[in-house]
Amino acid sequence: MSNLAWLLASLALAIAPHLGHVPLWTGPLCLALGLWRLAVEHGKTKLPKKWLLFGLTAAITAAILGHFHTLLGRDAGVTLLVAMIALKLLEMKSPRDTMVLIFLGYFLVIAGFLYSQSIPMALYLLLVVWVTTTTMIGYNDVKYGLAVRPRLRLRLAGTLLVQAVPLMLVLFVLFPRVPQLWGLPKDAHAGMTGLSDSMSPGTISELIRSDAIAFRVRFDGAPPQPTARYWRGPVLWDYDGRSWSTRTPTEGGAPQVELLGEALRYTLTLEPHNQRWLFALELPAALPPGSRAGTDMQILAQAPVRQRVRYSLASHTRYRLGAEPGASEQQRALRLPAQANPRAQALAARWRSAHANPSAIVDEALGMFRNQLFFYTLSPPLLGQQAVDDFLFGTRRGFCEHYAGAFVFLMRAAGVPARVVTGYQGGAMNPLGDYLIVRQSDAHAWAEVWLAGQGWVRIDPTAAVSPDRIESGIAAALPEAELPFAMTQLNLDWLQRARMSWDMLNNNWNQWVLGYGQEQQRSFLSRFHASLASWQGMAIAMGTGLAVLLLGIALWMLWHAPRRGTDPVQAAYRTFCIRLARRGISRALHEGPADFALRAAQLRPDLAAQIGHITQCYIGLRYGRQHDAVRALRQAVRRFRP
């Protein structure tokens, strides 16, 4: 394979993972320009003229601008980089240009990590680095027509990388991490999934098709019962007839929380979801550092969560929240659009006149869900303008957001303060890693009603319809045919085990490799020595580590000359030359074996026969077709004692 073929292959490998997020025309463009360059190499065509190249560059830049409306930002930047690589191929003349292309290839690899840092991606990109390095060696070698075979080149590149790994590890562990330097482009965090700040029919049932991890939790002691695993997220107050949302956050003031029972301690690692809220088991005793919460106990971080965050909390599953809410909060928890859902409002009014006690109204509603024909389904029929009416008196098929939404609507209409709470419910224990995995498919919505003397009480209307959902998780609650693909497979035992092992590996990867930031670095390093927690300590350790490693590699390279691969014929002949040299007859560099033998025989006529025999064997083996004389040569050399 020629050098150019190697270069094109390594660039193609580097571009491949980006094809998903660059405009569609980028792939064919790269292919076309690559083929053009290949044709140039085979003398079929010429490199484009300057003006054509300039025109192409301008056209492509314009196309990128047209697509993204900017040249900055992650996606536009990557597209620009890919296009420039393809164009540079047509401008590549000097070795310097080649190096620039190779560096751009490396740059694309690092850009790949902006999209995914998963283990398979890391392995793939490592492969790309290996191939690219091999290409680089080829350009520094075979351009002179020398013979390093591709296999040897691959091996050399591998050796270089393997030797670089220990240095990389030292740098990775000890290079002081600093906080972000400047703002990121807007699209830097696109594509993260998670709960949104509003809920309408369909939002959560969409989300639960995603198999993505929401967060992982490691409990210090035993995990709580599945029915108690309510992970509180956004609290939704306002209903506009279609969707629930929180337009203005609840006013400050510490939430009134009275904690009962035992505390459960745990550490939660939240995947980035590009929103501000943090999740906690209902109900945490204290907030994660740097976060705050309104009276409704919706925990908000200072900024959208764009990196994996880890926090330790203690939660109590028994609690009393907001025993005496303010008047404005009470009012807000009763507000409804006046004209919405008249049949539901009428039903609620009947309950209100029948029961003086709000908790009886709650039971009435739950009893309705439980005793009448309501179905729990992931694909409910579409609802009309009066969504709650349509649902309660028409379709009666819905997902948790239908039940929670309808329930809160009925409560408010019946004069019971109520609100919607979204978050996650349940989660699966990973028996191998002993931690709980909560996926997007565990997303859930429930309700809270305010009852005098009890405060805000969690009511989960879904549990009334489908107790399985709460006790055994989503996969058990839905009919088999409705399950998202990833969940149907769970029945297979070995697959489940493999899935759990894989998740454990990913979890460790996330915790130790990807999550290695400022905080983790400090706490990890201070385990070894207190001085390592400061950047000066890190710098000194880093310098020392690098120096020691480099010295080690250098010494190893010096002493470790490969014995393997030494030609036995060459070795035997060398011994012969060394023995003659000890007697003062050394072979000049320009002297061929025959000339040398002649000269040596003249100087030592007594050895002439031996010298002649050895030389004959050697020449025969080296240049002739005798391949069976190796043993004879070695014996002759062994016996040769001048």
């Binding site: 070795p95 190096m99 560096f103 490396y106 740059f107 690899v109 690092i110 990590f113 902006l114 840092q117 890391a122 990109l125 680095v129 390095t133 680089m136 060696i137 520094n140 070698d141 002179y144 020398l146 390093v148 050399l156 590149a157 270089l160 990388l161 030797q163 670089a164 790994v165 220990p166 240095l167 990389m168 740098l171 990775f172 290079f175 991490r177 600093v178 972000q180 330097l181 400047w182 990121l184 830097a188 990196q307 490799v513 990807l514 999550g515 930031g517 480099l550 590699i553 250098a554 390279m557 010096l558 000359a561 490969p562 691969g565 030494t566 030609d567 060459q570 070795a571 560099l589 320009h590």
Partner: protein, 272 residues
């Protein structure tokens, strides 16, 4: 480039970005060691240099001997402004590189210092060494451009060229001895395994020319040497026996490559 990568990694707090940046940085550092080892412990020695005429390029050969078990790749040699030449040196073997230098003057030409370098494997760093080996190349005087008839031919037979016909008056064979021109070897006899025999031609013994310094007029030493050089070449080409007489030095008539070499060397070293 690494700096940009590092800044990007810091800003995006991208762990794998850090990993890759550090890996590439370490790769570069490790490649320094490899580049250094690629050149280290090579033994360099001067090779043969073939005499040239003034005005030609003298070629100097540098032999690289690899005593170790690791192949050396793309070792370059550069002298002066000339573009480099490259060679691989397999384990326990030697490879030779040559470089040229324009030979302006007759005499001994001292090789200039040269540089051995390598950028293998990654081309990011360059290991080099300046060397000054005691290498010399003998430079013969520049042959006079125009062909004048050989002096004796002018004096006795009238045409030096006609002696070419003498080669056809074959008189017999004698055993070959060093100094005889390879052109006169009886190759057919060699093929018949009769040993190396030299063809002898009738009249050769009488056709001797003396190339004499004193027969040439003019004060310019170099011009005279040029003329003599030209004659030596012409006489050799005509397979004529010729002797050379210089002030303080005389070479008896003879012929063949060795004789030619001796004459040219005498001319090259004359007065130096």
């Amino acid at each position: 480039m690494l700096a940009v990568m590092l800044l990007g990694s810091i800003n995006y707090a991208n762990s794998m970005g850090f990993v890759l940046t550090f890996l590439l940085g370490s790769l570069a550092v490790v490649s320094i060691l490899h580049t250094w080892r690629n050149l280290a412990r090579l033994t360099v020695s001067a090779g043969k240099s073939t005499p040239v005429f003034a005005g030609q390029d003298a070629r100097f050969e540098v032999c690289l001997n690899n005593p170790g078990g690791i192949a050396r790749h793309a070792i370059g040699l550069r002298a002066g402004d000339a573009s480099g030449e490259f060679a691989d040196v397999p384990p326990h073997q030697a490879a030779c590189l040559t470089f040229t230098r324009r030979a302006e003057k007759r005499g001994l030409l001292q090789a200039p210092s040269f540089t051995l370098f390598t950028t293998f494997p990654l081309g990011l760093f360059r290991a080099w060494t300046h060397l000054d080996l005691d290498m010399r190349c003998l430079v013969y005087p520049r042959p006079a451009p125009e062909a004048l008839p050989l002096p004796l031919a002018r004096a006795e037979a009238g045409s030096g060229r006609s002696h070419g016909e003498g080669q056809e008056d074959f008189s017999g064979l004698r055993t070959w001895h060093s100094g005889d021109s390879l052109r006169q070897v009886a190759w057919k006899a060699v093929a018949r395994e009769q040993g190396m025999l030299t063809k002898q031609f009738a009249g050769e013994a009488q056709q001797e020319v003396w190339l004499d310094w004193d027969t040439l007029a003019g004060p310019d030493t170099e011009a005279r040497l040029s003329r003599l050089t030209r004659w030596v070449l012409d006489a050799d080409a005509a397979t004529q026996r010729y002797g050379l007489r210089l002030p303080g030095c005389s070479l008896a008539p003879g012929m063949g490559d060795e004789h030619r070499r001796q004459c040219l060397e005498a001319l090259a070293r004359f007065g130096l």
